[in-house]
């Protein structure tokens, strides 16, 4: 690789400064503040911060509900990542064919990503709500089973996974499309000449060649599902029924902003940060070995 050499000593630092500033202001500073808050107990209006050491953490580790939210997070993240990465790949392969109206399809497929999570949640509410949704109305003709996610936890979880995956699908499709188009046509043609069936071409050529993209998307989708999936859950289930859809990021928001328990909320965000950093490192260690660049 060619090394760029800057004639001026300070220019390279100046060039990375904006990015550094953004990272410090929006990541390191809040993260440090969370770390600080997580070892204090403080009344909402402040004034008397009391150092409590690791009390906030031990209280969480003794709380059964916290483990439930961790479990929910993993179910949710795996569901969203699986669905939106596999779904994204399938749709991208279809959208990579030579079909009429391709430009329109490709654009339309990206739209859901432009929709704010809260708005997506409201759209899903209109479709799925047991009291005024259109789908339960039609389902009631087909089956007597009530998909009432206001009471049934697994239906609620399925619903938020579907809604979140849908909003994130466009992002994945865009990356997969780019990856697919980077596959040299000659390789595909050679396979066709050798008489490989389409499925074989897909598993033997496409999948390995886009593995860097897949790997990147799995990591990003996991992080997304753990951190930024708050909007849909807030709009649709609010963590319920019971605590069936209360994932870690929702619980820490609820405890901090609704419950005004800043210490516990900060401790939860520290744990969440550790979990996500750990997961990402694990993915780099384990999964990256299967990636062919």
């Amino acid at each position: 690789m060619k090394r760029t050499v800057f004639p001026n000593r300070w220019l390279p630092y100046l060039l990375v400064l904006p990015q550094l500033a953004v990272t410090i202001v929006f990541f390191f500073w809040p993260a440090a503040k969370s770390l600080y808050l997580s070892v204090f107990k403080s009344p909402p209006f402040g004034g008397r911060d009391v150092f409590v050491g690791l009390d906030n953490f031990t209280a969480l580790l003794r709380d059964r509900e916290y483990y439930e939210s961790v479990l929910n997070s993993f179910v949710f993240a795996l569901g969203v990542t699986g669905l939106s990465v596999v779904g994204g790949l399938v749709i991208a392969v279809l959208a990579n064919q030579k079909i009429r109206g391709l430009a329109f399809y490709r654009t339309a497929l990206l739209w859901p990503y432009g929709i704010a999570p809260a708005v997506a949640g409201i759209i899903f509410l209109f479709i799925f709500h047991p009291a005024y949704g259109i789908l339960p109305y039609f389902l009631s003709f087909v089956t007597a089973y009530e998909f009432n996610w206001l009471l049934k936890g697994w239906v609620a979880m399925t619903l938020v996974i579907l809604a979140t995956s849908w909003t994130h699908l466009g992002y994945n499709i865009a990356f997969f499309l780019a990856g697919l188009q980077a596959i040299p046509a000659s390789v595909m043609e050679a396979a066709s000449v050798d008489g490989a069936p389409p499925l074989k071409k897909f598993t033997a050529i496409t999948v390995p060649l886009i593995s860097p993209v897949t790997f990147y998307l799995v990591v990003v989708n996991m992080v997304f599902a753990f951190f930024s999936s708050f909007g849909v859950i807030h709009a649709v289930t609010h963590g319920g029924p019971g605590n069936a859809t209360e994932i870690m990021v929702f619980k820490l928001w609820k405890d901090g902003f609704i419950g005004l328990n800043l210490g516990s909320s900060a401790a939860q965000s520290v744990i969440l940060m550790a979990v996500v950093i750990g997961l990402t490192m694990l993915q780099f260690r384990v999964a990256e070995k299967r990636v062919t660049y």
Binding site: K41, P43, F45, G46, E65, A131, K152, G240, G242, G259
Partner: protein
């Protein structure tokens, strides 16, 4: 640039001197839609009524968001003068050390308001040691709504809503059998209507230490006792044959009543005006059903929000806040607010004036909540025309310590815990006893943590 600067200077100089001299009073609130419009109109009326102060209303989102915003502003030493806080935040506010209690504010500014003229269950909710801490603004109480068309279809008297729970059950079964509706009744705000208010109207304690009014430490929930088990057990049993249909938290069940699925509904009295616009069928209101028997019949408790004055502003500016609160306490403002929003008018004078103006005769639905809070019979309005001649109606409900409100720390989470556990019971995940026991255990931990935070 120079031109721009001089333009600015000219603008500043040309601005009417009066406006410059007016002290701004910042007022953060959480009212949306028609309620937000009513609030802005009321503020405008105040601003036009005098020349010294200008109240500036600013909507900060939902109740929790408004409170969080006010806390952040207070911590950064730039709080608004006034902030609207929902009733469950009362204990947090009282103990925060950040508020300028309303009674003190009024004393310091030599403004006299006769708080005895105000409806007890409303003022009592925000009073400590006989002193009022925040100014009641929008108050409501849960009432019973029913679909008169569905009643007629089942051969029931549409002018006689059920007054007991066994009647609710019998009516629901009749209505479902007659095809009047798919379900008997549903509920909004499950903890508030089915747990908090059911305990209050049956004179049962919701929490120890007089529902938390007597102390911060050692308060425990009492909802897993005989009465709580009986009521939640009944709701759970009714679910199986659709007498009761759970519809989620807050107002998510509203459509069930509005679109005619459920024939009866229990929700805040503040929804009367909204329902008047959205409901197509003939409907009425009644008092909350009662179990009768050995339980006394007590008044219900309120919900809604009050205005808190925050510390940290120059003393002179507080006079403006005091003047604004004094304005809101006037009977004519109380009446205006009630007629325009459906929230309760909370001074007895205002209620009397409304009666004399035949307001309740014309809007009998609006009377239900007053009757329930003051203990009067629910169907008084027709007789009020001749109120002076007739003997005053005899109270049917008693006001007791159990029915005068709840003062719990971490109350927002406690409500959340109760509603989660109700859902766990209703979806069959837990038996009634275990659900309520778990709700109590979790809530007690939250109460203990709250007490610990404020003790240090």
């Amino acid at each position: 640039m120079k031109v721009f600067m001089s333009l600015c200077a000219a603008l500043v100089l040309a601005w009417p001197g009066a406006a410059l001299a007016r002290t701004e009073i910042h007022f953060w609130h959480a009212m949306t839609g028609a309620l937000g419009d009513a609030l802005e109109t009321q503020v405008k009326q105040f601003n036009e009524s005098q020349g010294e102060y200008e109240v500036k209303p600013l909507r900060k989102g939902t109740y929790p968001e408004t409170l969080t915003a006010a806390i952040a502003a207070y911590r950064q030493k730039n709080p608004p003068h006034l902030v609207q806080v929902f009733e469950v935040g009362t204990q947090t506010m009282m103990l925060s050390g950040a508020v300028y209690p309303v009674y003190e504010l009024m004393q310091h500014n030599e403004i006299k308001i006769d708080w005895n003229d105000f409806i007890k269950p409303v003022v009592g909710y925000y009073t400590k040691d006989g002193k009022l801490y925040s100014m009641p603004y929008n108050s409501s109480t849960p009432i019973f709504y029913y679909n008169k068309d569905a009643f007629k279809k089942a051969g029931l008297d549409p002018e006689k809503p059920p007054r007991t729970w066994p009647e609710v059950e019998a009516y629901a079964k009749k209505i479902i059998a007659a095809g009047g509706a798919k379900c008997g009744f549903s509920t909004g705000w499950p903890s508030w209507t089915m747990v908090e208010n059911m305990h209050a109207t049956h004179d049962q304690p919701f929490a120890s230490k007089h529902n938390g009014f007597d102390a911060v430490e050692g308060v425990e929930l009492l909802i897993n006792r005989e009465f709580g088990l009986k009521h939640v057990g009944a709701l759970n049993g009714w679910q199986k044959d659709n007498v009761y249909s759970y519809g989620g938290r807050q107002g998510t069940a509203d459509p069930k009543f509005v679109n005619g699925d459920c024939a009866m509904y229990i929700q805040s009295s503040a929804l009367i005006s909204g329902f008047s616009k959205s409901i197509k069928f003939d409907w009425g209101t009644g008092e909350l059903p009662h179990w009768g028997g050995r339980y006394p019949k007590a008044t219900s408790i309120i919900g809604g929000a009050t205005l808190w004055v925050l510390k940290g502003k120059p003393q002179a500016e507080y006079r403006g806040a005091a003047k604004f609160l004094e304005y809101l306490a006037k009977p004519e403002q109380q009446m205006w607010w009630h007629v325009n929003t459906g929230y309760l008018a909370i001074s007895n004078t205002a209620v009397r004036n409304l009666e004399q103006g035949y307001h309740f005769v014309k809007n009998p639905k609006q009377y239900t909540a007053f009757a329930q809070l003051t203990g009067l019979p629910p169907t008084a309005p027709a007789a009020l025309k001749d109120a002076k001649k007739a003997a005053p109606p005899k109270p049917e409900r008693v006001a007791t310590p159990n029915s005068s409100g709840l003062r719990l720390g971490n109350f927002v989470q406690i409500r959340d815990v109760i509603e989660s556990e109700l859902e766990n019971v209703f979806n069959g995940k837990k038996p009634v006893k275990q659900g309520l026991d778990d709700a109590v255990a979790k809530s007690n931990a939250l109460l203990k943590e709250f007490a610990a935070t404020y003790k240090q």
